[in-house]
Symmetry: C2
Subunit: 401 residues, 2 copies
């Protein structure tokens, strides 16, 4: 069975959770009574983070969007401010705050590594990844929070609390402690208390489900002047193809899936990706940390497609899905608009402007064009990951969408 359950047996979860002090939870009850975050953890499989038909998905995002907030501490790692939020029932979420108006385009003179993170990029990336059929991004939902009641009065983290202040406009602001943009000059501010944030479901604790971090072979140089190897060598993929784990299994086409996702949303900041250690090399890639996507709609960044363009390989299932989303009836911009409209923050304003949505269509056409060019030169472009049954079910699923 392809969808083998994530083998965090319930007993193991229970004992570990008890050690962590979760002993008020009723472990004798049925899975249906578990909180949504735990059902999400138990539903992780070798091939995807969640099943798109699982009703728990909606329950999880509803949980994140509505549960009372018990605590907020700064999350270390990364260069910009993010908070770890705790809920009743031991749920947690990763919070990224809105720092600029939703439609502010990245300054043309800023490098990808200096760009602000965007809360709506985190939300939109989750929707896009799901619509592409990947299911490799932990669920993310938008929420209008009260910075005073939900953060200032709840946090026990001095690094956060000591940076609160009231701005000249009378708004409650804070900035925390981090490498970039954590200063009075770059505050996170409520209006006067209300702040839009993204809340991402947290993955199982690393002690229960250790992960491995992989440096992307197509990582950028993170330098103002240096070029990466893949930018200088058009035959770069030849050596990647011969290097484990890319020389075997689906790792290379998984990476190309990720490149397609990143190109569509113009994310240049994919320096690493992660996998669950226990699944070894035959498993899906986690698409974590998408805050720098959707920074520019007026331009595309073809270099993000380098893995596809240089390797000329793509999963059949991905290609079929892309072709479907290029059809007038299933246009990517339309399904994204519809999907994003489900998010609680969409009531205030669309999470992606029309300019960003139509950039998706334009970029999708560009991906298909690269595949087409590949097919003119090579015969082994399509990686056939579908048997007859899968193809039927995919067609079935698509037309019902």
């Amino acid at each position: 069975c392809e969808h083998s359950r994530f083998s965090l047996e319930r007993a193991k979860v229970q004992s570990a959770s008890k050690e962590e002090g979760y002993d008020d939870m009723d472990w004798t009850s049925d899975v249906e009574t578990y909180p949504p975050w735990l059902r999400f953890h138990l539903g992780i499989s070798r091939w995807e983070l969640y099943n798109r038909k699982d009703p728990n998905l909606a329950q999880l995002t509803h949980y994140l969007a509505t549960q009372r907030i018990l605590g907020a501490v700064q999350k270390t790692g990364g260069t910009q401010l993010k908070l770890l939020i705790s809920f009743p029932n031991h749920g947690q979420a990763l919070l990224k705050p809105m720092k600029q108006s939703r439609d502010t385009e990245t300054d043309v003179n800023l490098f990808y590594f200096s760009d602000f993170e965007r809360h709506n990029a985190e939300i939109s990336a989750f929707h896009l990844d799901r619509l592409l059929g990947f299911n490799r991004i932990p669920p993310v939902v938008g929420r209008l929070m009260n910075v005073t009641a939900d953060i200032r009065e709840k946090t026990t983290d001095h690094k956060v609390s000591r940076t609160f202040f009231t701005s000249p406009a009378g708004n409650v602001c804070f900035y925390g402690q981090c490498e970039y943009y954590c200063s009075t000059e770059h505050p996170v501010c409520g209006r006067p208390h209300l702040l839009e944030v993204s809340l991402a479901a947290i993955l199982p604790d690393l002690s229960l489900a250790p992960r491995r971090s992989w440096r992307s072979p197509w990582r950028r140089s993170y330098s103002r002047t240096k070029l990466a190897q893949w930018e200088k060598n058009p035959n770069y993929c030849d050596s990647v193809k011969q290097t484990p784990p890319y020389s075997q299994g689906t790792r290379l086409v998984d990476l190309i899936d990720m490149a397609v996702l990143d190109f569509l949303m113009s994310n240049m900041d994919r320096h690493h990706y992660e996998t669950f250690e226990k699944f070894g090399n035959e498993t899906f890639l986690l698409h974590l940390d998408n805050g720098r996507a959707f920074g520019r709609h007026s331009q595309d960044e073809p270099s993000i497609l380098a893995p596809l363009q240089q390797c000329c390989r793509i999963r059949r299932s991905t290609l079929l899905r892309l072709r479907l989303l290029a059809l007038p009836d299933f246009r990517l911009s339309d399904v994204m608009r519809e999907s994003l409209a489900q998010d609680p923050l969409a009531d205030a304003a669309p999470l992606l402007s029309e300019a960003h949505l139509s950039a998706l269509d334009r970029r999708l056409a560009a991906v298909l064009q690269v595949v087409h060019t590949c097919q003119e030169k090579h015969t082994d472009v399509i990686h056939d990951d579908l048997d007859r049954y899968d193809q039927d079910s995919l067609t079935d699923r698509n037309t019902k969408q």
Copy 2:
């Protein structure tokens, strides 16, 4: 005579300048052959920096706007990037670069001490100060520079040159070394080489004309939380009036002139002002450093008028000028628009948007309203600085403008 010449005798200038290596200058020739910057220095009087009818004013700004650039080094002091530019004939100018689009309003959550400096604020402040009849700001002019040819290739300053880079958009950028906003995240960028800057005439060297820096009694706290004395005590002016140098002469009404200027252009950053030491306490106040003016047009900042509102004093000449500029035929916004249109940068786009210009009219009415309220309560509001002759000549001058 009120307009006593600045007694930097020519001989003194000559000898000092020779010591500084200016010995290739023809000191035997007539004043008319001196470079404009030197004539500007020699024209400084006890009561004003320049005479508005002096034809050298136009020559000086033309000089700054067109002369070949010989060098550029970073100017120390202050918190943001500025450069000292050198021209042939030993002229110099203080350069402030354009860092954001001209109409970007200051973020409502930024404090006055975190605001960016604006090149168009420096230019506009000079025009406004002149139209108000103060003549207390060194002439400033806009210029479209080539960052590569005029700065990168000319600078000998390693602090500047080592920060040059080419941005993702292919623009030539740099950021220098300073306390705030000197980083890759806040670059100064050409398009791809052309950059708008303001160039301010430099005052006579401190060795020739030492200046005294005075802390403004109405200085803000420069703290996110603390209030200054004047913000807490409505009778604050009573103590200022009794404290030298404000207890004598025109210092208090000079300060109020400055407050009027600052309120009109919404400059909250007037922590100090300077005077020429040799003129003692009976002299005008220099209105230097206006880069944080004109940051917001949609709101006024009444606290800037505190000196006028708390002391209820104003020069008659200032009041007459303000009343004139409130008349339909001499409306401040109209004369500013016309005056700013003379600047070389106005060809590309107006230096102040219509929103900023109409804010000037609105704020002017607010100043007159404060004076009116003062006059209802006090009889000594008007400081009479005009004799009969002056009043005639003022009226004469105004109607001819």
